[in-house]
């Protein structure tokens, strides 16, 4: 059909009033996709705040147990290292938030059949998953900021809170964990029962956050380890982002991108295998 014929027919429709002119579908761009995914995350965050509040309360409860219990047992030794503990705990809550929200979210999407629907769309699931990751990180920053504020008040600790530095370093540090979340989500797609066990991995983040990066430099390439060391320097010693050696920043970015990309590859491979085995969405 020629453009003229199409135009003529569309004109007829408009005159008929069957299909008004404003109803002409326009293609969605990545901007529209980002808006849709982020808006959905925002709606669920504000509409169902119980999850976020519950997470904050549980995190603070554990911290209170750690802080007051530790002070009883270790006394001054704990008070001397409290800054490091607060920063480490802050990073741990960020990591757990990013990891579990991504891996659980993928599990839920599979169960609801919505992951399958994303696969059969022009965009695919990849950009949606990455945008969700961004939303989870933002959300986790908000809840962890509340936890940090309460920790600082309770312990009377003072830390350097330069927003750009803290957000950049902590954000890049937990990007690697986001990658682990994608990988765990992918494994859950293939092996449904393993998913719950993978949640235990978040306790391993404590070891990564406190990895001895000065004594064992190779541990810097593990997720979180290098970023944790940099966040300690930024928040405890007041080092600003631009004051870090370029090599440190480069490694931080490389680890973040590497694990995110690796995690996404695992997810991609796992969903492809699930499609081959016919178990995608097969709960």
């Amino acid at each position: 059909m020629s453009a003229a014929e199409r135009g003529e027919r569309d004109g007829e429709r408009r005159r008929d009033g069957d299909h008004p002119a404003e109803d002409e579908p326009r293609p969605a761009t990545y901007y529209h996709l980002a808006r849709a995914v982020l808006y959905r995350e925002y709606l669920i965050f504000v509409r169902y705040p119980a999850n976020a509040i519950g997470g904050i309360v549980v995190s603070l409860f554990f911290f209170a147990a750690l802080f007051f219990g530790g002070r009883l047992l270790a006394g001054q030794a704990l008070t001397d290292s409290i800054e490091g503990i607060v920063v480490g705990y802050f990073l741990w809550t960020l990591s757990v938030g990013a990891y579990s929200s991504v891996s659980n979210d993928i599990g839920s999407e599979v169960q609801w059949g919505t992951l399958e629907r994303h696969i059969t769309t022009p965009f695919g699931f990849a950009p949606v998953a990455l945008l969700k990751g961004v939303a989870k990180v933002v959300r986790t920053f908000l809840t962890s900021a509340v936890i940090l504020a309460v920790m600082l008040l309770v312990t009377g600790t003072r830390l350097s809170l330069a927003p750009v530095t803290v957000v950049a370093v902590a954000g890049l540090a937990i990007t690697s964990v986001l990658g682990l979340g994608f990988a765990a989500g992918g494994v859950t797609v293939l092996y449904k029962r393993i998913g719950n066990w993978l949640n235990l991995l978040q306790f391993g983040f404590v070891a990564l956050i406190s990895a001895p990066v000065f004594d064992l430099p190779w541990t810097r390439v593990l997720p979180l380890a290098h970023g944790s060391a940099m966040l300690q320097r930024a928040m405890v010693d007041g080092v600003r982002l631009w004051e870090f050696p370029l090599a440190d920043l480069a490694l931080l970015v490389a680890v973040a991108v590497g694990y995110l990309f690796g995690g996404y590859l695992v997810f991609h491979y796992a969903t492809r295998r699930a499609r081959r085995l016919g178990v995608l969405g097969d709960y």
């Binding site: 199409r6 404003e22 293609p27 996709l33 629907r117 769309t121 022009p122 085995l277 016919g278 969405g281």
Partner: protein, 366 residues
């Protein structure tokens, strides 16, 4: 941008006329080659079919325990047609749909959607395709009805603002307008199912797969949904593939039926042709005058398919379609039989399915 691929093929508006043309062909032009699924649209003469499945096979598992879920299936679905996939649980309907959607990767064969090979450029191929899959929520229960429509329109590649009035029409049509701003989780099961359907149609998908759309619905909800499906198919010119083991749904909604058993297609024709070919133009006559001797006399002249001497009154079932009915009444008069009740037994798809497979569509295939 994937949507541009859809536009190159001719977007939703451009395809309307050709779809209607094709849908008219679809119901009337089922020759033998069409029935065995070997139809091929000639791209030089007409736009490609909505769906072309060619020699698709899928086996799950390995060794002795493996199951051949889909066995060398070839099927073409013309634009604007409503095709029903009928078969018992385990017949391969869902696997075939998932293969067509790329959710399950076939071991062999190819799938073309609106002429685009799924294997070549999957995302472009699925620009105008969506599906409502069995047993899944398919949408987000924590979002409202309208939010779901906007979200799924976007991921289908359509700016939701540009189809807002279409969404209003869709909500009106599905009787969901009052619930537009209610979270889906607060709706009844029947309404949730309708939201699922609305979200599938929200992005202007032209090829829609509905896998057991009435499963788990009460009688009234199922009836409403069937009526809506019929109306949407007619008014929007959609191509719909409905899978179900429920013949009422298939019979009410579809103009062509593909019957599956053990992963293979066992029949593929219009509903009318299948029912016409069921060879079940049976008349049931009940009368106290019927006995073995009378029935033996009838057997000499007619095909008697059943006799129940213990019924009150006894009843005989005779194949007597068209003019043969006059012969039957004459024969009954001659035998001194006064009918107490006469009833034609309408064949339904279940009879056809039984004839072809020996299995009821509601049963288990394997």
């Amino acid at each position: 941008m994937a949507r541009s691929a859809a536009s190159e093929r001719g977007g939703p508006r451009e395809r309307d006329a050709s779809e209607r043309d094709n849908s008219e062909h679809d119901a009337s032009e089922h020759d033998a080659s069409e029935r065995d699924g070997s139809r091929r649209a000639d791209p030089a003469e007409s736009p490609p079919a909505a769906l072309e499945i060619d020699g698709v096979s899928k086996r799950f598992g390995d060794g002795d325990e493996s199951v051949l879920a889909v066995d060398d299936v070839t099927l073409t679905v013309d634009r604007g047609s409503v095709v029903g996939l009928l078969g018992p649980n385990g017949a391969g309907k869902t696997t075939l749909i998932k293969c067509a959607l790329g959710i399950v990767l076939p071991d062999a064969g190819s799938v073309r959607v609106f002429g685009t090979d799924v294997g070549d450029g999957r995302r472009a191929a699925y620009a105008d395709v969506d599906a409502m899959l069995e047993g899944a929520r398919n949408d987000y229960w924590r979002l409202t009805v309208r939010e779901n429509l906007r979200y799924f329109a976007t991921i289908s590649g359509v700016d939701p603002d540009s189809v807002a009035s279409r969404h209003d029409r869709l909500l009106d049509r599905l009787d969901l307008a009052d619930k537009a701003d209610t979270p889906v989780r607060d709706l009844s099961r029947g309404m949730k199912q309708k939201v699922s359907l609305a979200s599938v149609l929200a992005g202007g998908a032209e090829l829609v797969f509905l896998d057991e759309p009435t499963l788990g619905l009460d009688v009234e909800s199922a009836r409403t949904l069937r009526a809506e499906l019929r109306r949407l198919a007619a008014e929007e010119g959609l191509t719909i593939v409905v899978s179900s083991h429920d013949m009422t749904t298939i019979e009410a909604v579809c103009d062509r039926v593909v019957m599956m058993a053990n992963g293979r297609i066992v029949a593929d024709d219009t509903v009318e042709a299948l029912l016409g070919g069921a060879d079940r133009d049976v008349v049931r006559v009940a009368s106290p005058d019927l006995d073995d001797a009378v029935v033996a006399g009838l057997r000499e002249r007619f095909e008697v398919v059943g006799f129940d001497p213990d019924a009150r009154p006894p009843a005989v079932e005779v194949v007597a379609g068209g003019d043969r009915l006059y012969d039957l009444t004459d024969a009954l008069r001659e035998a001194g039989v006064t009918p107490a009740a006469v009833r034609t037994l309408q064949p339904d798809l279940e009879d056809v399915f039984l004839d072809r497979t020996g299995t009821a569509p509601g049963g288990e295939s394997r």
